[in-house]
């Protein structure tokens, strides 16, 4: 059973490949765009000589590369996606690439499409939490966003990606498993999700306050993906992915300050965030975009609305976090401190 991992050289991808190997999977095709990100994957290939470990370079924007990527694979773990850049770039990197991959699957004859599973890693950003009000509980039954254009471009592109893959699932009939991840963090990742706050010039504006931070340590997230990818009961299901212990945004920021470096920050409570977002939104409209509407009331409600989360469904599949949140944060902060000192 050959497994394709797209985005295998990325922050999450390398960990997914490691977890696949740990689960005894030996027939893995790692699809990477940048050869410069292949070092760890090449190490894994060298240290697992008994496995059929294939490194496939290409670009999912290319239909020919997509055809090469999906040839003979029974499971597609699709991680590749745009994380930053202009909105158009995010749509190319997340949605156009996913469409090309689905088209390539549709054009393939072996193995049969009905015996092929696609595992899509999506995001909490696809949930339409705003109409539910402050403090809403988010699980897999939470409706998806109905006004994606009012969200940040990343969430918009991830939602469109998920919708598109579902359309192809209906059309082609493959097994689809969707994992919606919270805040994936760990060594190699970034320091702050915007759920904690945003950097504005020299000041970190902390708006997360006492909201729960749905952290998913990268190893735990990778483990969840592998468990869902290989579990027979996961077909057709959606799983929220976050660790069991969730610190508040404030606790995370405090720990960062203690273990990484001092950070000039200002704490803005939710009511003030909403007020300021409304002012910025109004100014953005009146001035025809002279200042970007990086925060609107809608975006504020989505990011800092004090949601609670559940990973019960994922736990029901047998997934357990391999690294505690405390340990995960320590490893992450150690990495960030080294990065900070290196600069």
């Amino acid at each position: 059973m050959k497994i394709l991992v797209t985005g295998a050289g990325g922050f999450l991808g390398v960990n997914v490949v490691e977890r696949l190997l740990a689960h005894g999977q030996r027939d893995i095709r790692c699809f990477l765009r940048d050869k410069g990100k292949a070092a760890r994957i090449e190490e894994l290939a060298a240290s697992n000589p008994g496995s059929s470990f294939e490194i496939c370079y290409g670009n999912l924007k290319s239909k020919a590369d997509c055809a090469r990527a999906v040839a003979d694979v029974a499971i597609v773990i699709h991680l590749a996606a745009g994380l930053k850049g202009a909105p158009a770039e995010l749509f190319v990197d997340s949605v156009v690439t996913a469409r090309n991959l689905m088209e390539a699957l549709g054009a393939r004859t072996e193995p049969p499409i009905a015996q092929t599973r696609v595992v899509l890693v999506s995001s909490f950003g696809v949930y339409g939490v705003v109409p539910l009000g402050r403090g809403a509980h988010v699980d897999e039954s939470t409706p998806i966003e109905q006004c994606p254009e009012r969200r940040d471009p990343y969430s918009h592109s991830k939602l469109r990606q998920e919708q598109l893959v579902r359309e192809y699932q209906q059309k082609l009939g493959f097994e689809l498993v969707v994992l919606r991840a919270g805040v994936i963090y760990g060594p190699g990742g970034g320091a702050f999700s915007n759920r904690v706050g945003i950097q504005v010039g020299p000041i970190f504006v902390h708006m997360g306050g006492n909201n729960l931070l749905p952290l998913s340590y990268v190893v735990n997230c990778a483990e969840a993906i592998v468990v869902a990818a290989t579990h027979k009961d996961a077909a057709g299901q959606v799983y929220n992915v976050h660790d069991d212990e969730m610190p508040t945004a404030w606790e995370y920021l405090r720990a960062y300050r203690k273990h990484v470096k001092k950070l000039r920050s200002i704490r803005v409570p939710y009511f003030a965030t909403r007020f300021l977002a409304g002012r910025l939104e109004g100014y953005h409209r009146r001035s025809q975009g002279q200042l970007p509407a990086i925060i609107t009331r809608y975006k504020a409600a989505a990011a800092w609305g004090g949601n609670t989360f559940s990973n019960a469904k994922l736990r029901g599949l047998g997934w357990r976090p391999l690294v505690s949140t405390q340990e995960g944060m320590m490893r992450t902060f150690e990495y960030l401190r080294a990065q900070s000192m290196g600069k």
Partner: protein, 360 residues
């Protein structure tokens, strides 16, 4: 003004075209088009454009726009321009105008033959300070231009640069002049209005200064270009620089009477004046004059900010306003076709020197 605008090409720069066209009263963006349906759809949804298409001919037939903005890669500009003018549209083109100079000539000929109008998005030349520079020049405050220095910086880690770095197959890598071809319009179009020659002497050198990165698309990009230009009366020095920080965009015009320095990022224009006071007194005065210029420019910028005229692409709004007005009033377009052709010719000659293997 009542104009229907359509846009073909829904990549990154199309955002600016939608935003700035809609700032002009009476202008409506009626539809967008991209061969890739996902891209057309996302642009229409994000900006609430009523309709989107994947076929430009179908869009032109259904929408009958007055103006077509072409924001596709330059490989398609000539064919799309011909299609647009045949459908009765005026054309606003994103730079670079075309792949080669012969295509630029053909493109302009097609527009002229169809009795339509064309402009190119040379927006920095329509920033307030650039317009002020030309006003001073035309009023003979600078005298005649002796030498021009045009400098444009670039950030390969920025929003646009990242797209190139991540993708070795990005269309910019397939241009004859590669990264330089996507940027040199903005360096040269600031020089050309001061340089009357059709075929000035040029000498260009290019090299790679930045180190390799994890992104395979970046490692082969030449990222520094220097061009010396010598005309009959005026010389110029054009610099494209991807490694100096901050990423600047400046123009210095050395005149026979005074010298002007425009900073497009800081949005300032400072005049370096010939001093009338003798000796040490003449050396005491300039810093205060320059400080006064900066102070006044700062205050004017505050005023523009308060009047909501301090957007990144404010020059594009001015250019579009002038272009749309020229359509309504049937006057000359805001950028002379001769200047567009001279920029294109200079670019082709530069790329022939720095990428000789890429020339036919």
């Amino acid at each position: 003004m009542g104009l229907k605008v359509a846009i073909v090409g829904c990549g990154k720069i199309a955002d600016a075209h939608v935003e700035d066209a809609r700032k002009i009263p009476g202008v409506e963006v009626v539809a967008v088009c991209d061969q890739e349906p996902i891209m057309a759809e996302q642009l229409a949804i994000r900006y609430g454009v009523p309709r989107w298409y994947t076929d430009c001919a179908a869009m032109l037939a259904a929408e009958s726009p007055n103006v077509l903005h072409i924001t596709t890669p330059p490989q398609s500009h000539l064919a799309l321009t011909r299609q647009a003018v045949s459908a009765g549209c005026h054309v606003f083109l994103e730079k670079p105008v075309a792949l080669v100079h012969a295509d630029v000539e053909a493109l302009i000929a097609a527009v002229v033959e169809a009795k339509k109008k064309l402009s190119v998005n040379y927006w920095p030349n329509f920033e307030v300070q650039a317009l002020e520079l030309h006003r001073l020049y035309n009023a003979d405050v600078l005298g005649s231009a002796v030498h021009i220095e045009s400098y444009t910086g670039y950030d390969l880690a920025g929003e646009f640069g990242l797209a190139l770095r991540r993708d070795p197959d990005h269309w910019v890598h397939r241009l004859p002049g590669k990264l330089f071809q996507n940027m040199m319009d903005h360096v040269l179009n600031k020089i050309v209005p001061f340089l009357d020659d059709d075929e000035p002497y040029i000498h260009a050198i290019a090299y790679k200064r930045g180190g390799g990165t994890a992104d395979s698309g970046a490692n082969e990009i030449l990222d520094e270009l220097r061009v010396m230009i010598k005309g009959e009366e005026t010389s110029a020095y054009a610099t494209f620089c991807a490694n100096a920080r901050p990423v600047g965009q400046t123009l210095r015009v050395y005149g026979t009477k005074n010298t002007a320095h425009v900073d497009f990022n800081a949005r300032t224009l400072v005049l370096e004046r010939k001093q009338s006071f003798p000796s040490a007194l003449g050396r005491l005065r300039p810093p205060f004059q320059v400080a006064g210029d900066y102070w006044r420019q700062g205050l004017r910028n505050v005023g523009r900010f308060r009047r909501h005229r301090f957007h990144f692409f404010d020059g594009m709004r001015t250019l579009l306003t002038e272009f749309y007005q020229c359509i309504e009033k049937d006057t000359d377009p805001p950028i002379a076709y001769r200047d567009i052709l001279r920029v294109s010719d200079l670019m082709e000659r530069i790329f022939a020197q720095v990428y000789p293997e890429g020339q036919a």
